[in-house]
Amino acid sequence: MSAKTKEPDPKILVFSSNAISDPGIDLAGSAHMHYSTAVQVIPLPCSSGVKPDWVVHALEAGFEGVFIAACGGDCAYLSDCTERTSALIKSAQDKLKERDISPKRLKMSGLCSVCADNFVSHMGKFQGELKKLEAK
């Protein structure tokens, strides 16, 4: 999937959370589950702390998609982490629309500390969607 082709894979920036989703992404690597080398991760303490402006900055700077690997219901810090992360996603999407950037370039999903399969699946699907967006 990630072997070099004529058309490079869309660059995806993933914001993960140190205690929950980042170990899940680690697990995908530990299991040698392949995903595109165009996927790069920046870990944060919690997905509720992602600033919408970072999403905008990443897409304006050159990433083609941003994926927030949220803590979801497993968050050890905030019982309403999912709601908070959803709220900042909406805020970021509003900012993207203002800049005429497709809000489809931003995705979020809860990812647990053993959700390796899910992560790889999400990356594959998201890249497919981004390729369709590029083709339009």
Partner: protein
Amino acid sequence: MALKRRIGVFVCHCGGNISDHVDVEKVVAGVEGEPGVAVARTHMFTCSDSSQQEMIDQIVDEKLDGLVVASCSPKLHMFTFRGMSERAGLNPYQYVHVNLREQCSWAHTDDKGGATEKGIHLVRAGIAKCALTRPLHALRVETQPRALVVGAGIAGMRAALALADMGLAVFLVEREPEAGGWALQAGKMGPEAQHGPDVAARLGSRIAAHDNIMLYTGAELIEKSGSIGDFNVKVRVSDEDVVDLNVGAIVVATGFDTYQPREGEYGWGLDGVVDLKTFRQMMADGKLEHGGKALRDVVFLYCVGSRQSKSEACPAPNTYCSRYCCTAGTFAATTLHALEETLDQTVNQYHLYRDIRTYGHLEMVYEQARREGALFVRWDPENPPVVEQGDDRLCVKTVDTLAGSDTLEIGADLVVLVTGMRPRENDQLNSVLKIPESKDGFYNEIHIKLRPVETVIDGVFIAGASQGPKTLAESVASSLAAVAKAGGLLMKGYVDLEPLIAKIDTDKCTWCDACLKACPYGAIEKTVCGDKEVALVIASMCKGEGGCVPVCPHDAIDIEGFRDDQIRAMIDASLKEAVV
């Protein structure tokens, strides 16, 4: 700013785990010209003693003020390299870890060129972050050599004794009038046939005789202030007195509640339908009869209140397995069999189960029950058993999924519902301690495998079934794990708190109180700075999760280590073209 820094970059081969799939020499070549990089080189194993010493020498000789190590996941060696940095005289928070193994080489074993290019991007991002680090210092807090244990069931009593044996003063608070918890009502408990009230009494005697333990019964925790190492708590005793206590750590062992079936659920409410607790008491009383008639046929129905699916009748299902019920039900089978022999009475036992989860050596209890004649019938959750009132006794209809599709009709003098565990209702305590709960309603640990008894409230630990369904043995093991963490904290005498917490830009802050509302930990206060009101972060209360960051309308909050300028710099550095 970056040009003034002197950063050392060390890329690990990890024996081949990294360098087999990432050309680490090309990574070094791709980053050595980055602004601020003074040294860049590879090591076969950066975590080895010899490599660490070489890195320490280079930090000293080259007068490095920043360090990037690109190796395995930070979950493995972040603290190793923080320690190394300290030994080299470098502030440990000016070291940045890059995950080049789990999130690069191992995930891209099929594309060495792509993985190498990605590796360059990852390390550049680490360098960009490192260039913006500043020295941070852990907040050192002295710990008081006293502990509070909430809940005097078996897990709580065991925790209190273990902490007291370490020489710590322990305050043990129990809401009920008597210590002992569910064990007081358990009768004989599997698998060793210990008598619950006797176990509780033995522990109670030791507690009463221990100089270091003060037990408060009929008592509730009503207030908590302070932070790790130095909590001030108020305990209301017998609805009258309020006791002020000062403790360094809190262990919460509040246990569980048993599931209460809904009216009509598996015949609940019909004469002769009882729960396991009632049946255990019947056996403890030594009488196998109901309504004046000797028992001939008893049906045990498992998974009542556990592993539920959402339905109209059950809008908030308990989806978890309660773990102890299969052992408790099969142990009741063996206890009943022994009593039959004592009373010279024959009772036919039918155990209707979904899956028998008598794991580990508990399987022997199940085997014994089968050997002694108990019949086990498996049912399908799509077609659960139905309990009805027959002409003269109860009738249970079920389909044995292992024997065909015919419906069995079992006449029963007694139906025993083997009910599961529920989270304890502790509204008062929850409002005081603010421990996050899982979606199941039990207290949530930080990490189920890596930090299984710690909560996000520093200094507050969870033990036993307050955290989730457990057998008694598992509860005690968890309780002693909490003791190890709490005891270790208090015996050391101090604790260093991570400085990676929120920081307010007082120039931007206008005290709109959005951060105050966003923080569930009470870590934000209003203060005066110059001639205006601004937010103040209470360092010992802040968890550093960053929930306050995106809600600030003035962009006035950063989390140290994850500051706005650092994240933007990482994004930019990740996108610079890398030639492989």
